[in-house]
Symmetry: C2
Subunit: 332 residues, 2 copies
Amino acid sequence: MNTQQIVLASRPKGTPTTDNFRIENVSLDAMKEGEVELEGLFYSVDPYMRGRMNDAKSYVPPFQIDQPIEGGVIAKVAATKSTSFKRGDIITGRLPWRHLIVANSNGLQKIDTAVAPASYYLGILGMTGLTAYFGLIDIGKPKAGETVVISGAAGAVGMVVGQIAKILGCRVIGIAGSDEKIKALKEDLGFEDGINYKSTKNIKEAIAACCPKGVDVYFDNVGGEISDGVIANINVHARIALCGQISLYNSAEIPVGPRLQPILLTRSVLMQGFIIGNYANLFSEGTAQLSQWVNEGKLKSTETIVHGFDKLPNALLGLFNGDNTGKMIVEA
Amino acid sequence: MNTQQIVLASRPKGTPTTDNFRIENVSLDAMKEGEVELEGLFYSVDPYMRGRMNDAKSYVPPFQIDQPIEGGVIAKVAATKSTSFKRGDIITGRLPWRHLIVANSNGLQKIDTAVAPASYYLGILGMTGLTAYFGLIDIGKPKAGETVVISGAAGAVGMVVGQIAKILGCRVIGIAGSDEKIKALKEDLGFEDGINYKSTKNIKEAIAACCPKGVDVYFDNVGGEISDGVIANINVHARIALCGQISLYNSAEIPVGPRLQPILLTRSVLMQGFIIGNYANLFSEGTAQLSQWVNEGKLKSTETIVHGFDKLPNALLGLFNGDNTGKMIVEA
């Protein structure tokens, strides 16, 4: 039996294009004992994948040329030689970008679609939600009444961060790339204010106007000049959680900017980078809290769903154009 | 009665010169109830004073034009209208740069010159030692066997940081501005290695050579390109304590450099700015530990003493040329 897969055809220099990917037909491996045959339903595209397209040492190994891209996938068990799963189970795991997948059952987790729609397990109840939760709670340490600023606020992680900050009683300001996104943050999610960075000349002044008491917590998904403008307004004893730097991922040169250390020093600011793997031993605690908030209606999921397995490269590249509001997912 | 004082004559643009100061004779105020008359013995010059020469909001208010510079001073009580001190007591306090000083006794502290020489209370047992102690322990959190890199390592704070890191069982690398300073760090204080940044073309490569296991703790007094080279070698889960940025203090423009957030993010690094005032409620604990180490001979004081009250401006400016090894002090 044949199936489609999407491989890394070449490594991008600067901004990737669809030419860096190739879709091809391959024959499906025969199932061995302990394996399952899966039909992919939903595929996650995430900004961190850009780093894996480079041949550089990082916290996850690079994708290999001519090998399938891999990432978070929700799939249905079509056949099984594993005692862990039965036919029809819906599972999530880190899997290759193939339409039909033969995989060892270790590392796969059954999900309960009675609790929440399957796609939520790639987003608000998956790595996205956990990233928002632990980055904000453990690094940002927001207190009620404090001002929280989020860059990439209409992205998958940003939208969850803002809602959690609201639950905790903070004043929340989001930075995003269109008036529609800002409207959604304010009207649908209750953000106090928002800044459309594409139509704002001076981010520093815009933040100052939105944050008359300064910025206590900055949850940064974006980096670059947007962050310069936020950090210029940072308060004494503020906390900066570095979650993403999407504005820099496609830079061919080492990006330069104003040195931040003098501000961090004189204002006693903490800046902490993190990846979600740091919190692996706390995932069940995080998922329980996120599920509770979802069930209570306090936490809403926003998804941008693209249809068609072959659209995976376009969906991934679209993240860097801000094509998504909330979690970007491809439905096969 | 007259005395000499040193005032801020003008605000520097970029690197200050002695023209920014003026020495002048003033008549001594009459003592009021609760006041003491002091004869200055030792005056502290410190890098943070450069910031106070600017008319900029910061964690300490700026010096005022035509008003005396102020800083840490050790003085002898020459006369008293306070019940707190008697004639002959040796005190320390934040006081104006005057040879004879009339001051309220509140905020002055008697020091015990039987425990340590008076000048130590401006250095290793004063703000300098406390800055080293809390910055390293609370932010750096060094563990035995880890690699600690210190910039400005032959400065007042750096020399104490390195010795504490050695006491805690770390491998210690110092960066300083002359071969003599590196020799002192290694031979007198037991640092494992040192880098003379003035004769080193590529700090990144030099750090890589000195730190084969990478950098776990970076105690930064200097900033700028030296820090870029250290941070390029920073380990996953490393801690960076931002104590000073002396290489940038005289910049007339906003300094620019490579953006650090991508490294801090992918390596889960903490960067924390601090000022010693953050730890005010822990000073007695810190002083007790430092005194114990000094008495046990585990912690040595290194001082550069300049003679003559009128040399205070030169001594302060000399900090930015690296004229000092250890704590720079002016003896009146």
